[in-house]
Amino acid sequence: MPAITSSSVPPSVAGVDRNLDMSAHPAAIQVNGLDFYYSEHQVLFNVSLTVPERSVTALIGPSGCGKSTFLRTLNRMNDLIEGSRCVGQILVEGQNIMDPAVDVVLLRKHVGMVFQKSTPFPKSIFDNVAYGPRVAGETNRSVLADLVESCLKKAALWDEVKDRLTKSAMALSGGQQQRLCIARTLATNPRIILMDEPASALDPASTDRIENLIGELCANYTIVIVTHNMQQASRVSHQTAFFYKGVLVETGPTMKIFTGPSEKKTEDYITGRFG
């Protein structure tokens, strides 16, 4: 007997169909048998997951279950950690990104990332958004200006900052900073956006805006989001993956995970019996 009924799951944000049939969508990311180690300590065990194109996949699970580590393997941010090691296959757009021939700089341009703590650079709002295109070689001022405007609009921040683009990004509120970071990521024109608890440090109103933004963005981008907030996972995602102690316990359409999970462990976590 499922512990939760569909009526107790909060309504989804606009643009997210939680009963989506995965098999209909082509895969943006396909992970096969991924093991991950920090030195000798194994943190991911044989993880296999398919992320459909233009959808939101939420990764949930208790602290230390490996979901953030998993997220960071998708754009090889874990390379920065000395002694980390990865075994298995990660196909992004059909290419194995663990191939030594892969250029991580190009990979990260196509697989953007938004962090838990908003990290604006100590520069102006304009320079923050223009940073990605600039490091990629764009110098034309009007191209940059158009790009900055369109990305800030996509991130629902334009109206709030259009009069102070040259002012410091540090003066923005926490929620605005996080949307700025999303705009900054969009400016590199990625196909996939990874979000590591993007709203966990924000107030409810800002969280709400970020969630609605995710609903809008998934029409054009593939999004993978790590969240501690299960209500949030149920609101914003098409599919949900539940991690526990480094193992991907269950994955499926969000509605199914939240109303009729097939694993006892998932049900216990969803209903708050542990975690």
């Binding site: 941010m77 990260r108 650079f121 100590p122 490091v135």
Partner: protein
């Protein structure tokens, strides 16, 4: 177990005695407050005691300088007449020394710091270097003087033989100097500056490392995640963010070289001289006499601390050189203070470009 606190310990379910907040009603608190006051007064005393000694020293120096300190002190050359003796040669010598010390130590020091903090992977070798940089900062400067004598002065002696002989080396126009019969010395400005570079380099590296470490790593990670290369991340994010710290740290540690006398004496810097490097005795000549500017780094020199040392030990029946030495100290301190002021201004402008 101490029950000296505020009365008896509380027991669950038992109403505790009414508490008084009036001062002086609790003996133990009075005792602790007394100790606290003693401690803060002790700290205050040692601070002001150090300050008092400094003020006494300054007052004594200013008092001693009476009789010589005047404007002509900075533009008169040295002299055996204490009324005429001035610091011109020392000022120019120190200027050239510090200029070349900065030119050598800033790129090497900042580059090493960037390598150690941003690029090098953590290895045994890197850890050994990091630990020993702070040890090197503690090495007495006279030791660097001996090193400079052995390495740089010997090298300069070899070059001098080459250029004074009929060898056809012609780098940096040195050949032209020889044609103009401008002498090249082995105890020259460059040798002094290279030695002073050794003295200040550990401090410069440490200061730059400290500034780089204070840049939050989230900035680096965010930059890399946006598809920037490591070089772009260092150049566009880390260095601008660390620049106020790097520039002040570097200016302050380089200015240490202004006051160094020991390694220069070791190298054989002149003590009694009226001669100015390259014969450039006014800022205007820096522009109007290019060949002399080229000659200055290869010329002999003296420096402010060396002149002060010389004046203070010079035998004079009426102790008239005491006033000269004191005046020299005041000029040296004013120079150091203005360098520190420059560091503050640079810090202000470098951080204004950042938008924290």
């Amino acid at each position: 177990m101490s029950t000296r606190g505020s009365g008896t310990p509380r027991v669950a379910g038992q109403q505790s005695a009414p508490v008084s907040f009036i001062s002086g009603t609790d003996g133990s608190i009075r005792r602790r407050l007394f100790l606290s006051r003693v401690f803060s007064w002790t700290c205050r005393f040692v601070t002001y005691a150090a300050l008092a000694v400094l003020i006494v020293l300054l007052a004594a120096i200013i008092w001693s300088s009476v009789g010589r300190l005047a404007f002509d002190f900075v533009y008169n050359p040295n002299s055996s007449n204490p009324i005429k003796a001035g610091m011109l040669a020392g000022l120019w010598g120190s200027f050239w020394l510090i200029l070349f010390t900065a030119l050598f130590s800033v790129p090497v020091g900042v580059g090493s710091a960037i390598y150690l903090e941003e690029i090098a992977k953590d290895s045994f070798f890197v850890r050994v270097i990091k630990t020993n940089i702070s040890n090197l900062a503690g090495v007495p400067s006279i030791v660097y003087g001996i090193l400079g004598y052995t390495v740089f002065r010997s090298l300069a002696a070899v070059l001098k033989v080459w250029f004074d002989g009929q060898h056809a080396f012609n780098i940096l126009g040195l050949f032209r100097l020889r044609l103009l019969k401008l002498p090249i010395y082995e105890d020259n400005i460059l040798v002094g500056a290279l030695t002073l570079t050794l003295v200040v380099l550990p401090t410069v590296i440490s200061a730059a490392q400290e500034a780089l470490r204070s840049v939050p790593s989230s900035i680096r990670v965010a930059s890399l995640a946006l598809g920037a290369t490591r070089w772009q991340t260092i150049w566009r994010q880390v260095i601008p963010a660390a620049l106020p710290g790097i520039s002040t740290g570097v200016i302050l540690s380089t200015s240490r070289a202004i006051g160094e006398a020991a390694p220069l004496i070791m190298l054989g810097a002149l003590t009694i001289t009226t001669m100015v490097p390259g014969n450039i005795d006014s800022p205007v000549k820096l522009i109007t006499r290019p060949l002399q500017v080229l000659h200055a780094p290869l010329d002999q020199f003296t420096a402010m601390p060396i002149e002060i040392y010389d004046w203070s030990k010079r035998p004079d029946p009426q102790d008239r050189f005491t006033a000269v030495a004191a005046s020299g100290i005041i000029v040296l301190m004013l120079v150091l203070l203005s360098v520190n002021a420059v560091a503050m201004v640079v810090r202000h402008y470098a951080s204004r470009r950042l938008k924290w």
